[in-house]
Symmetry: C2
Subunit: 259 residues, 2 copies
DNA sequence: CGGCCGCTTGACTAGTCTCAATCAGTGTGG
DNA sequence: CCACACTGATTGAGACTAGTCAAGCGGCCG
């Protein structure tokens, strides 16, 4: 197991939370993500129907997967937070079936297929990356249930609770607060609501004393309340795989049986 | 490449449409799926929070992934049609984050982790199974966009078009018609609509001369119309990977640029 | 024949959307 | 330093899609 903490590198931190990595693994990952480049806010990294050029890794900032539905704007289908990356198997695809874009300005690495292939030859890394994909899939399913079944207020509460946990998992939340660069329009694009309704719903959550949003930062004032409010069950994030004690505790506090 | 046609085994047929398989590959797959067992309609195969016992493969019938959202019924998040199977990586999870249940009565295989591991040692099979997962993910994203962005009538039209293509891809649709064992309630659970609204919406699509549903069979009367109606783009099914000429033609007829 | 499940229809309700106007914060050029 | 422009947040009013409740119908099975 790699002894040094690599929280400077969110990817390493995240993978280590899934599976132990040795020195060699860490070196390989550091090398692979050594040269990020800067991308401004609201820029496409790759568009639907384009052939994948490699595997994107977000080192810093918020990015998202999205699709445009003609006549109804766009649907955001996932957030890519620092340490998150594309499905490693996109290499196998001829063309992308969705687009990826930055939300805030980002530090991005585009790993070549060769790089990814050599990373995947390391069993620990391969295992960790596969688990990442599994969690991404589970998150997508949870979003489907969220959008399909919950009312606007519960939907937003659920999303914010997830963001808090995910940001905490990569060490980017302190005291319930984290960077939150999303516009209300973008929140609406995510949760299938109009920006007007997002606005009114945010006021509701604020009045309920659950959250505060200000200066592109969100603070969760009462995460137990937020979990209850949205019926949030953290199981889909599979946090108990992870060796961050604080997160596991938090997960348990949801009042959920996590066997 | 395996010369014999294996359409008796939907899985082999499906994998072959992604990548050529040799005799050995086919034998291994046949062995792995040799002993399906029968499960009645509306039975859970595995429930959320249970540890996975293996990888499910649907040999015949309709099954689905779903989650129950307290206070709002259930959300179906995917259909498993004949030849479809669980994500091979569920083996890596401690507990399921969703349930899997039959819709109609089914023939099911539960492949042991050992079996799956040995299948994954065959490069062709591994590649094909990974592509399956990628298509499943893309389908999930498309459903999210569908539920998030489209009106009830477009949503249903889109779903039916997808089902037609998928059933055709495994040789289970003839002349635009295929088995359709879903109740209106289940369609609603899938597309996040009430059963009452599903009922009225189906009448709309019927009156528009697009589909007929009768005796647990659906017939698509005008698939070009259905595609237009729902703005269906078949790209997410990645059909052009597949060696079924008819499907590729159909995909192109959507009027879509599929590079 | 009776019971049950699923389909159908009607009437009413409500959550969310759309349109439109105003306000606030930030950055820019004169 | 101020006027202006632009983007995003906020508020109000009215319209509409889809949900809920409730009753009746139809076909299948024991």
């Amino acid at each position: 197991m790699c002894v040094r903490k690599h929280m400077a590198n969110a990817l390493i931190g995240k993978l280590q939370s899934f599976t132990p990595l040795n020195e060699e693994d860490c070196r390989a990952l550091e090398q692979a993500s050594a040269h990020p480049y800067h991308v401004g806010a609201r820029q496409d990294l790759i568009r639907e129907n384009e052939p994948p050029r490699g595997v994107f890794l977000i080192v810093d900032g918020f990015a998202c997967r999205y699709k445009v539905v003609p006549g109804s704007g766009r649907q955001i289908m996932a957030y890519l937070l620092p340490g998150d990356c594309d499905d490693v198997d996109v290499m196998g695809l001829d063309v992308m079936d969705h687009s990826i874009a930055t939300i805030s300005s980002c530090q991005v690495v585009l790993m070549s297929f060769k790089t990814v292939t050599s990373l995947m030859r390391r069993p620990n890394i391969a295992r960790a990356l596969r688990l990442c994909t599994l969690v991404d899939d589970a998150t997508l399913r949870e979003w489907l249930a969220n959008i399909g079944r919950r009312s606007a207020d519960q939907r937003l509460a659920h999303l914010f609770m997830e963001l808090l946990l995910r940001m905490q998992a990569v060490g980017l939340a302190a005291d319930g607060a984290f960077k939150f660069p999303l516009t209300q329009q973008e929140i609406g694009d995510t949760m299938a609501l109009s920006s007007v309704h997002v606005n009114r719903t945010l006021q509701l959550l604020r009045q309920a004393g659950l959250i505060v949003v200000k200066n592109k930062k969100m603070r969760v004032l009462d995460y137990v309340g937020l979990m209850r409010y949205s019926d949030f069950k953290p199981n889909y994030l599979h946090l108990l795989f992870r060796n961050n004690q604080k997160i596991s505790d938090l997960a348990r506090m949801g009042g959920v049986e996590v066997s």
